[in-house]
Symmetry: C2
Subunit: 146 residues, 2 copies
């Protein structure tokens, strides 16, 4: 875990906001280098599964030509939802580092801890990294919507 | 729910086996008609997220030009994993009908019930539909692997 990579995830989230997408961004890091970056695209792609983490996982798999992301760290600005937490298990990502907690939809700490349910794989988790920056992006986005 | 559509999901699962993929198949039905069909493609696509349900959800969204699958039923031969159960919540699918339970990885009944965790959406669930046919496909597949 290196908190500096959250800045890259935050940049991705800002790009999402420019497209009027909920500002959530993610990057995947392997051996200290970013190998994939993505942001939420659910509205643009009309795809409820096009969360930042899913798009990032797919991009990393494509780059590495494998469906196992051993040795990879996922940095994401918002606590993953159940779908993304499940994808993290399936892809066997080593570490998950998230920014803001998601009291309503978080599946890693807030609402449930999917990783503690004894599925066949359990990543390390670091929450609350650059939380204030991650959360304020979301707050500003939703305030503008009112 | 109409159990006959599980036969179509089973046909999809058989197609998966022909490609040496774990035989899990799914179809999505709206207004009594199949609008999407898919099977597991994780090995072929080198993508840990390429489960039958995910591919089916994406295909249905594309067809309907929307990320909300209201009025849709998902038939799948195996109990959904956490990722797929989470995608079902995100896409707001009305009903989930599954065949064989998955004691090790099922996130709808067996290991946990993700839909009972008070996320923002809860579909109806019917389990054990044409269970024997769905399960025997999986058993034969894994016996051949020994």
């Amino acid at each position: 875990m290196n908190a500096k990579f959250m800045n890259n995830a935050i940049s991705q989230a800002k790009n999402a906001a420019k497209l009027d997408e909920v500002p959530v961004g993610a990057v995947i890091v392997k051996n200290g280098k970013i190998i994939a970056a993505a942001h939420n695209l659910t509205k643009t792609q009309k795809d409820a599964t096009a969360h930042a983490e899913m798009l990032c996982i797919k991009a990393a798999q494509e780059l590495l030509c494998t469906d196992h992301l051993f040795g990879c760290e996922l940095y994401v600005t918002l606590e993953p939802c159940p779908m993304c937490a499940g994808a993290i298990i399936n892809a066997k990502i080593d570490e998950v580092i998230y920014g803001a907690a998601d009291p309503k939809g978080g599946a890693v700490d807030s609402k449930i801890n999917l990783f503690a349910q004894n599925f066949n794989y359990r990543p390390a988790v670091y929450g609350g990294i650059k939380e204030e920056a991650c959360r304020s992006l979301l707050q500003e986005f939703f305030e503008d919507k009112r």
